[in-house]
Symmetry: D4
Subunit: 164 residues, 8 copies
Amino acid sequence: MSKIAVVMGSTSDLPVMQKAIDILKGFDIEVDVDIVSAHRTPEKLFEFSKNAHTNGYSAVIAGAGGAAHLPGMVASLSPLPVIGVPIKSSNSIDGWDSILSILQMPGGVPVATVALNGAKNAGILAAQIIGSADKCVLDKVILYKEGLKEKVIKGAGELKNKAP
Amino acid sequence: MSKIAVVMGSTSDLPVMQKAIDILKGFDIEVDVDIVSAHRTPEKLFEFSKNAHTNGYSAVIAGAGGAAHLPGMVASLSPLPVIGVPIKSSNSIDGWDSILSILQMPGGVPVATVALNGAKNAGILAAQIIGSADKCVLDKVILYKEGLKEKVIKGAGELKNKAP
Amino acid sequence: MSKIAVVMGSTSDLPVMQKAIDILKGFDIEVDVDIVSAHRTPEKLFEFSKNAHTNGYSAVIAGAGGAAHLPGMVASLSPLPVIGVPIKSSNSIDGWDSILSILQMPGGVPVATVALNGAKNAGILAAQIIGSADKCVLDKVILYKEGLKEKVIKGAGELKNKAP
Amino acid sequence: MSKIAVVMGSTSDLPVMQKAIDILKGFDIEVDVDIVSAHRTPEKLFEFSKNAHTNGYSAVIAGAGGAAHLPGMVASLSPLPVIGVPIKSSNSIDGWDSILSILQMPGGVPVATVALNGAKNAGILAAQIIGSADKCVLDKVILYKEGLKEKVIKGAGELKNKAP
Amino acid sequence: MSKIAVVMGSTSDLPVMQKAIDILKGFDIEVDVDIVSAHRTPEKLFEFSKNAHTNGYSAVIAGAGGAAHLPGMVASLSPLPVIGVPIKSSNSIDGWDSILSILQMPGGVPVATVALNGAKNAGILAAQIIGSADKCVLDKVILYKEGLKEKVIKGAGELKNKAP
Amino acid sequence: MSKIAVVMGSTSDLPVMQKAIDILKGFDIEVDVDIVSAHRTPEKLFEFSKNAHTNGYSAVIAGAGGAAHLPGMVASLSPLPVIGVPIKSSNSIDGWDSILSILQMPGGVPVATVALNGAKNAGILAAQIIGSADKCVLDKVILYKEGLKEKVIKGAGELKNKAP
Amino acid sequence: MSKIAVVMGSTSDLPVMQKAIDILKGFDIEVDVDIVSAHRTPEKLFEFSKNAHTNGYSAVIAGAGGAAHLPGMVASLSPLPVIGVPIKSSNSIDGWDSILSILQMPGGVPVATVALNGAKNAGILAAQIIGSADKCVLDKVILYKEGLKEKVIKGAGELKNKAP
Amino acid sequence: MSKIAVVMGSTSDLPVMQKAIDILKGFDIEVDVDIVSAHRTPEKLFEFSKNAHTNGYSAVIAGAGGAAHLPGMVASLSPLPVIGVPIKSSNSIDGWDSILSILQMPGGVPVATVALNGAKNAGILAAQIIGSADKCVLDKVILYKEGLKEKVIKGAGELKNKAP
C-alpha cells in the first residue's frame, strides 16, 4: 500500500504541516512524520532521503521556512516526487524567502511547490500522485472535489436566503 | 502505458514548454501537446480538463504567463496532479505575476508549481509521478540523476586540469 | 432598468464585497449577489458567466484573493465589462498575488481592476459604467463626488477651528 | 453616437497607447486623442477633465508611466468611467511605480486599471462599457471574442500537424 | 518671516503629519496646516498650489498615502520646493504605493521625498531649506543636530554603566 | 551668490549626475563638482561635509548606487539641505537598493530623495531651494515650468495635425 | 585573547543585538558593547572604526535598521571583518531597506551580512572567524553544532512518542 | 599557511567567482577551486564540507544562483566561516531568489552573505578573516584600502582638470 513521508525542519513547523497529515489520513493514506533539519541534522537528511524510495514511500512532503533548503535537498537525494511547503515562519520575510528558496530549483532537480503555508494542498497533491496510478484513491479525490463544490453551493444558498 | 498531457495558453509558449516534451520523450514517456487558452478557449479548457483522467493521462503539465489561470483552472476541473510552469512571457512583470497566479492556489485545489520557465523540471516531475508507482520509470529517474552528477564531476575535473 | 451582478469566491469575502453592494444600493441600482468559485464550482462559473449579458446585467463585479482567477474567468466567458476586486484574504501574500492575478490579463480579455480591497470603488465604477449611457445615474455620480468634496472641506474647517 | 477620449502624458507614450486607438477604430468607435500632462499642463488637465462628460465622451482612457497621476486626476475631476493604462516608460522601475500609482486610488475615486502596457485591453474595456448599453457594440465584442478563440484553435491545429 | 504650509489629503493623516508641525514649531517657524485632497477637492488643490509662493510660503510639506498624488500635483502647480511624505495609510500596500507614487516624479517636476511616515524629517528638511539662506535658522539646525548627538552619547553612557 | 555642490561616489556616476549640473548651469547657478566616496574616501567625506555650509554652498546634491551611503552621510555631517539621487548602477538590484538606502533615513537626519536616476530633478529642486529665498531664481523656475507646458502643448498640436 | 566589538545605532536595537552578546559570552569570548550612530554621532563612528583593529578587536558586529549605514561605514574605516545585522526596526519597510543597505556594498568594501534580525548568527559567525585561527574556539563551534543536532533529534523523538 | 576554498555549483558560475580567486591571489593567499553542486553532487558536498576544517582551510567561499543551497549546506556541515555569494544566474529572478536563499539562514547556522555577484568582496572578506589573526595579511588589507582611496582621489583630480 502507498505511504507518504511528511518531514519538516523543526517542531515549530508542526501546526502548519499538521494539515497535510490530516488530509492524508482523511484519504486513508498511511503517513510517517519526522523532524529532519537540512541545517542542523544533515546526516539524518542524507539517511532519510537516500532511502525514502526503498522504504516504501510514494512521495515526500517537506515543509520549511526562511532559507528553506530541506525540500530541495531531499529532492537532490531522492528519485521520488518531492512536494515543498514554504512556511511563513517567524524568521521569514513575509514568506518570500521560503517561497523562492523552494520554488526556484535548478534544471534537473524539481520540487513541486505549493502555496505559502499550503500544507493542506500538499496533502491533496500527494493523494493525487498516488491516485494517478491507483483508481481507488483517484475516486476519493473526485469525491473530495465534489464536497468542495457542495460546500460552496450551500454557502451561496444561505447567502440568497439571508438577503431581503 | 502512462501518458502525459502538455498544454499551454499560446503557441508563443512553445519554446519554453518544448523542454518538458523533450525530457519526457527522453524518458520514453508518451506526450500529447495542445494549445488550450483559459481566457480565449474556455470551452476547450473545460472539455480537455474534465476528461483528462478518463483519456489516460497520468498528469497534466500546464504552462502560462502573466495572469496565468490555465494551470489552476485545469486543477479545478481534473482530479489528476497538475504541474504548473510559470512563463516569463513578454506581458509578464519579471515573472512575478506568472509565479503568484499559479502558486497561490486556495486550499483544496493544488497546483504543483516549478521554477519560472522551469518546463524541464516539470517534465522530470511528471516522470517522478509516474515513477512513484512504476519501478521501471523510477529506475530511469535514478539513472538521470546519476547523469547529472557525472556531468558536474567531469566539469570539476576539467577545471582542475586547466588551473596551473 | 440596469442591474449589476456581484460575485465572490467564498462567503469569507463578503465583508469586503459588502461595500460594493452598499454603494450600488445607495445609487438605487439593482444588485444580485452570489458565491461563484472558479476553483470549486467551475460549472457554475461557466453557467453564470455565459448568461450574464442575456440575464440583464450591465456589468459584473468579481472579488477574489490569492491566485484570484474568478474575475479573469468571468471576463473570458462574458462580453460584459468585468470589474475585479483583489482581496487581501488570509492566504494572500500581502495582496500581491491577488492584485497580479487579476490585473495582468492577456491582450483581448480585460479586467477593470480596482485597488486592493477596493470594493467600494468597484461599486462606484459600476455606477459610472451605467451612468456613461444613463444621464440620471451620471447625475447621481456627480452628486456623490460633490459629497466627497464637502466632507473634506468640513474636515478642513474643523482642523482650522481646533488650532489655537 | 458614443465617443472615447484617449489621453496620455507625453508623445513618447503614443506607441503603447496606439493599440487602444486601433482597437476602438476596429470596433467603429469614434476616438479623440490628446496629450494632457498632469504635471506639466495641469490647467489643460482641469479643462479637459471637467468637460469630458459634457463633450460627449462615454469614457476616458488615460495612460501614464512612473509616478502616474494622470488617470487618477482625470477620475478626480470627471464623473465618467476612467480607464488607466500603466506604462513601463524609461523612467519607471519595472512598471511597479506606474501600476501602483494608478491602481491604488482612495475610496470614492476609482480608476479601472488594466495590465502594464495593456492599452489594447483598455480599448476593449471601453468598447465593453459602451456595449453595456448598446446592443450593437456588445455584438461586436462577442464577435471579437469569437475571433480570439478561432485564432487559438487554428494555432492548435497547426501544432498538431507539425508534430510527427 | 519664513512660513511653511503643511497639507494632507485627509484628517486621518494628521497623527503622522503632526510631527512635521511640532518640529517646525520647535524651530520657531510659522506653520499653516490644511486638508487638501487631490482626488476629492481638486479645485482647492489648484487654488492652494497656484498661490502658495505669493502667499508667503518658503516650502510646502504634503503628506498622502496609497496612490498619493497630492505632493506631485502641488509640485506641478507651484514653483516652491515641495516635500512629500509617503504615509502608510490603511489602504496602502505596506507603503510601497505611497512611496513610489511620490518619489518617481517625471523629469521637470521634483518632489523632495522623505522616508515612509517620515513627517519629522520633512519638518527638519523645511527648516534646512529656510536655513539655507537664513543664518539664524541654520544655527538652530546645527544646535538640533548637536542635541541628537548628545542623546546618543548619553544612551551609550547608560549602557556602559548597566553592564557588570 | 548661491552655489551648489554636486558630489558622487564614482566617476562612473557622472553620466547620470551631469543632468543636475546642466540644469543648474541653465539657471545660472554656480556648481562645484567632486568625487567623494563614503566607502573609499571617508576622510574626504568628513572634510567636505563638515565644511559645506561655511564654504558657501546652499545645498548639496549627492548621487550614489547600490548600498548608497553618500547622501545620508553628508546629511549626517552637514546642516544644509541634502538632495539624494539614487543611481541604478551596474551593481544595483534594479535600483531598489539605491532608493531604499537613500530614502529611509532615520528621524533627525533627512535626505530629500528624488526619482531613480533623477539627477535633472535634483538640479531643479536645488534651484527651487535657492528660489525659496531669492525672487530672481524663483522667477527662473516659473519660466522653466512655463517652458515645460509649452513643449507639451506643441506636441499635442503636432499630434492633432498628424491625425487624418 | 580575542575580543569582539558589538555596536548598534540606538539603544532600541539592544533587544535584537543582545543575542549576539549572549552567544559570544556562551563561547567565553570577550565582548565590548557600544552605541555608535552613523547619522547622529559620525565623529564617534570615525574614532571607533579607525582604531578598532589596534584596540584588539578581531571583528566588529554592527546592527542597524532602515537606511542602515553603520555596518558599511565601519567597514569603510576599518580593515577588520565587519558583520552586519539588518534590523527590522519600527521605521523599516518590512526589513527590505535594512537588508539592502547593508548587503549591497560596492566592490572593495565587504560587509558580512546575516539574516534579518539574525544577531545570534552574527555572534556565531564572529566565533567562527576567531575559530578560523584558534583551535580551541573552533572546537567550541563544533560542540555547539552538535548541540543543535541533539536538540532536533530529541524533538523528533518526542514527536514519534506523541503519535498514536 | 592559510588557505581558502572557493566552490561553486556549476562551471557557468566561474566568470563571477573568478573575481574572488583573483583578489585572493593578489593578497598572496592560497586558493583551491572546485565545482560542488548541492543538488547534483550531494555526496561530494558532504565529503568536502565535513573535511574542510581538517584540510587546512581558514574559510570557504561558496557561490550559487536561484534556489541557492550550496553556501547554507556547507555551513551546515562545516565549523568554518562560510562566505556566500548570491549569483544572478540565468535561472534567477533578478537575483532575489539567490540572495534570500543564502542570506536568510536559520539561527545557529550563519552564512556571511555579500552583495549580488559580489565575489570580489567575498575574496576581500576571506582575506580580512585571515587578517583578523595574521598581522601580515591585515597590513595587506590596509594597503589595499589605501589603494582604493588613491584611485578615487585621482579620478576626482582628473574631473577637476577637465572642467573649464
